[in-house]
């Protein structure tokens, strides 16, 4: 191990890690917001409400993120309509393409988590809310969603870690996040194993910190106390 060289490049690695965190942060927060209506619709009893979210989730979970990324970044340029539209300055930029794709991708997974969580709520609790005279909307906001949030939180933390690792794909569309930065550095100093090792340590540290943060969040939301059946 060439520790001195590793230390010399640490600021660059840090820059890459910051970009990685930006990508992941935007994707999982936006994804969560988009996934709430999608997940609720996916858990609906009516087939025509369920159909569209089902198709969306099936497509995004059934194809690799790399393909989706290439479809958005390279693929959209095929259409003149998009090239001439006001969206083009954004869709030409790898950062926006990567965040958009990762958001759409993770939305599908989070929606599926949410569906599982909604369906795991004991029916008696929803019946109790309705028996107390709550409207369907009120029961959804005060009973179903808070309950589903606690059931789904552990799975959501898994999804965030998976997105952290998936963000390395953004390096294929020229973004210099942690993996991209590592490849650039390797092109400069040829210390392949040392540099990949450092990047790996960075990923491990970030995922360790995320896991700890989610543990705190679970404690704060009193997930354990609410699991009593």
């Amino acid at each position: 191990m060439e520790w001195e060289v590793i230390f010399k490049w640490l600021p660059k690695f840090y820059q890459g890690a910051v970009l990685t965190l930006e990508l992941v942060g935007i994707a999982v927060v936006l994804g969560l917001i988009l996934a709430v209506p999608l997940g609720i619709a996916r858990a609906s009893k009516l087939w025509y409400v369920r159909a569209l979210p089902y198709g969306y989730i099936f497509f995004f979970r059934g194809t690799p993120l790399l393909v989706q990324l290439f479809l958005v970044y390279y693929g959209l340029a095929q259409f003149d309509v998009i090239r001439d539209s006001f969206m083009w300055p954004y869709l030409r930029d790898p950062f926006w393409c990567a965040t958009a794709t990762m958001t759409l991708h993770t939305t599908a997974y989070i929606a599926e988590i949410l569906r599982g969580a909604i369906q795991a709520i004991p029916p008696g609790e929803i019946e109790a809310a309705r028996a107390l005279g709550m409207s369907r909307a009120k029961a959804l906001f005060y009973i179903v969603l808070p309950r589903a949030a606690r059931i789904g939180l552990p799975a959501y933390s898994n999804e965030v870690i998976l997105m952290l690792k998936a963000s390395s794909l953004a390096s294929t569309v020229t973004l210099l996040e942690l993996t991209g930065m590592t490849r650039t550095i390797i092109a400069r100093n040829y210390l392949t194993v040392d540099m990949f090792f450092t990047a790996g340590v960075f990923y491990l540290v970030i995922s360790f910190l995320l896991v700890q943060a989610f543990k705190q969040l679970e404690r704060w939301m009193r997930v354990d106390a609410c699991q009593g059946r």
Binding site: Y74, T182, Y203
Partner: protein, 230 residues
């Protein structure tokens, strides 16, 4: 629907075959690694436990893409040193081997947890019954634990296999001619990126559906004797 593939149909089909080959080879390696990992993690020996959990934590904490790149670009020195020792200085991992090792390693790390869960889910009495009958440790594992373990581990392994199938796209980065790479080649000539990447997406979707059907059949077979057919 008639999609004009500009003569790239056969290349894409060959790519699909390569993807399937890659996925199946990685699956075999991953199952072995996962089984070993789970055995290490559930063994009573501390060093083995430590080894198993280090393997699964380390590999799961680092992106698959990084493993693929590391296996391909990072092993050049090691392989040429090995090659020199055996009198073949041009020894190197080809993209396929690097992809299989990297993806197998990742699959194995996740499979370790799935298998461990399955081993722990088998009632203790079954093992004790084996001991009481005078079976050896190996025999208890192959005759009592393994057959029951499959049924419990199968849904988890199925999920992992779907993930593995999609991760094969990553190996295109080290220029293995699978679906994604063939689509890139096609785009290079035809200048129709959306069309070809969409075709690639649907090919992966098709493979996923195939794998799902296969998984369903396997699960049904493994669950015979457990669900009452009416």
């Amino acid at each position: 629907m008639n999609i004009d593939l500009y003569g790239f149909g056969p290349a894409l089909a060959a790519g699909a075959l390569m993807t399937v080959k890659l996925a199946l080879c990685a699956l075999c390696l991953g199952l072995v690694l996962g089984l070993l990992g789970a055995l290490a993690k559930t063994s009573p020996y501390k060093p083995l436990q430590w080894l198993g959990s280090t393997y699964s934590t380390l590999v799961r904490g680092v992106p698959e893409l990084l493993w693929v790149l590391l296996m391909y670009y990072g092993t050049v020195n090691l392989m040429s040193a090995l090659g020199e020792a055996f009198g073949n200085p041009e020894l190197a991992l080809n993209p396929f081997a690097a992809g299989v090792i990297a993806l197998g390693l990742c699959f194995g790390a996740y499979a370790t947890e799935v298998f461990r869960g399955a081993i722990l889910a088998i009632p203790k009495g079954h093992r004790e019954a084996g001991v009481a009958l005078g079976m050896s440790k190996v025999r208890i594992f192959t005759r009592l634990i393994m057959p029951q373990m499959w049924r419990i581990a199968l849904p988890g392994l199925g999920n992992l296999f779907m993930i593995l199938m999609k991760d094969t796209a990553l190996v295109s980065v080290i220029s293995l001619e699978e679906i994604m790479r063939q689509a890139q080649n096609a785009v290079l000539f035809s200048k129709l990126p959306f069309t070809f990447y969409l075709v690639a997406a649907f090919m992966y979707l098709g493979l996923t559906i195939l794998a799902m059907t296969g998984m369903h059949l396997l699960e049904k077979r493994a669950a015979r004797g457990f669900v009452r057919t009416t």
